[in-house]
Symmetry: C2
């Protein structure tokens, strides 16, 4: 059997074997009337994929779990009620596959925080089916049309892929913080998320500071668009000259231990925030002192993904400013995927892997 | 010697003797051209006073330190450049005595977060004088006219006093959070700050939840204007029915150990905040988990005091809605003051002590 009855992908069933996904076949989720089927052509590799298959964010819910949520491909079939997309259209899918689209949050462009029917692109049960979602290291993907976004012609597919999770994850808090002309934004962690945050904040008009522990990525951060680079591990008092400077500090690092939170909080303007988007391991916490933040009413918060509205804005911004994530293309096959995951686990990626050659691989 | 050369007040020089302030005489700060002299008639007793004289917020900077920063009195003299006040006018002074009034923060109605010349009403050095500020348990007070606020006729002095620190401290974050019609506000800790927060949030149009550890203050919280009362110590799952309910949760409690932060964060709407105004001891911290707040992008922040603009708005609001803090009047003298401080230290106050009878005491 082949598509539409069976999808193929690279699955993991045991967190101990996360570095060797194997080729699997599985039934797509039952078709709902607003679903579209996408033949996948590209898929970014996000740190979330790695956290999930390593079991760091909870249990693997399938023994053939396919991750990947930076999907670009072509619509090859549409459900009977689909109205926004047609067969042949190029679309992207990010980290969300379903929301109720009716609640206050959904109605307020916060469908990514929908409580009742929020389904992530992989490893999450659909409310109306006995089926756990499957991601984009695969031949095809099926999801609700609302979560499949048309991509402007100006953006090449391989550059669109990393925008769908990583790009959106940093764009949404940048936008919501008021990032723009006459604002100053700090970006901590020059990795998959951070490098896009620098480019986007710069394109939005902000003055951008990149923060990293060492100077190793200084030249590259400047090339991405950072106006300033601070190596926090190379000077004890790196924050002293920066008081009252920042409209937001976006923490893209996926660790907590190296982050001197109080130093970052001390350099925010009044009523501004240190925003976490890089997720640490589940139990890790920051220590927040009410006392040390009363001089500027600073705060700490989290942000997750973004809305459809923000995806479309992000695409427009990237098309207008010709923003291209820094990627390394990986033709998909078992060996290449395994190598890429192992390298990502070591931090050996500058700055995003994008899986390619899906058609050649899955149709052969 | 008497006023204007000498002020009288109740001072503390040794944190171990915080409960027995003694009558002292001291020189006023040297007169600056925008200073006014106020003959004090009322002064609220704020928890900050207690923290300060107990040495919990750092060193006592004078051996005759007079605290008190909820001052109401009459202008009795004005410096040569004073333009906003005249002799005979009734004014209030809160917890701030000076700011530069020129920096970005000052220009943006954030003079309470001024970095360069921020002088608290007591125990803080003036930048231009070798003088540490002295508060309102005293016969007179001298400060810059910007920090002496005209009080509307509708508000009795004894009710105006607690608004000047406590009231402003809760009004500012309520206002900045958008508190009003169709919003829901949570208030933790039904004490000096909390009881005013309930009244103010209600007057601003919000639906108000009061949170306390036990039901002891339930009837009074409802009388203050709370629509709902939650005794968090009497049910393990008190937060379960409150998901996605709150536009802000204002923490007026001055402890951290009893606060289940994650439970409060879980009931905020998207992109909303848990705001601390009740200050704990200097070293106390909250544990903030980026992971547990990604379902609603919740955050935690601090807030301190408020701006002159907000004081004047607060007075208008209280005049319009006839808001009266719940006070117990304490005629000022050594014995009464000592008893009041000891009772405040035990939490035995419902809900604000206001010192009275200043003229009778200091002119006798």
């Amino acid at each position: 059997m082949t598509y539409p009855d069976v999808f193929q992908g690279f699955g993991v069933g045991d967190a101990k074997k996360w570095s060797t996904p194997t080729l699997v076949e599985y039934a797509p989720k039952p078709l709902d009337s607003n679903d579209v089927d996408i033949e996948i052509e590209y898929c970014g590799i996000c740190s979330s994929d790695l956290h999930t298959i390593k079991g760091e964010w909870g249990q693997l819910r399938r023994d053939d779990l396919v991750v990947g949520h930076e999907i670009v491909g072509t619509v090859v079939a549409v459900g009977p009620k689909v109205s926004s997309l047609v067969v042949g259209q190029r679309v992207g899918v990010g980290a969300q596959n379903l929301a109720c689209l009716n609640c206050n949050r959904c109605q307020d462009n916060n469908e990514h925080y929908c409580i009742t029917k929020n389904v992530s692109t992989y490893n999450k049960k659909f409310p109306n089916h006995d089926y756990f979602s499957q991601g984009g290291y695969a031949s095809h993907h099926r999801c609700h049309e609302y979560f499949a976004f048309p991509i402007p012609d100006e953006i090449e597919s391989k550059y669109a892929a990393p925008l769908l999770c990583g790009g959106l994850t940093v764009y949404s808090p940048l936008k919501r913080s008021g990032c723009g002309l006459n604002t100053t934004i700090g970006v901590i962690g020059i990795g998959g998320l951070g490098h896009m945050a620098i480019m986007l904040a710069k394109a939005m008009g902000a003055e951008v500071y990149a923060f990293s522990r060492s100077s190793a990525k200084k030249d590259e951060a400047i090339k991405m668009g950072a106006d300033h680079f601070i190596a926090t591990g190379e000077s004890e008092n790196w924050n002293q000259e920066l008081t009252d400077k920042f409209d937001m500090i976006l923490n893209c690092a996926s660790y907590i231990s190296g982050i001197t939170l109080n130093s970052y909080l001390s350099i925010l303007k009044v009523d501004k925030f240190f925003v976490n988007v890089g997720l640490p391991c589940a139990g890790d916490v920051y220590e927040f002192s009410p006392f040390t933040t009363i001089s500027n009413a600073a705060g700490i918060k989290s942000s997750k993904l973004g809305s459809r509205k923000e995806v479309l804005e992000l695409f427009e911004l990237c098309a207008k400013h010709n923003i291209k994530p820094w990627i390394e293309e990986i033709p998909i096959n078992g060996k290449n995927l395994s190598n890429a995951l192992i390298r990502l686990d070591k931090g050996d990626v500058r700055y995003r892997f994008v899986l390619t050659n899906f058609k050649q691989f899955f149709s052969s």
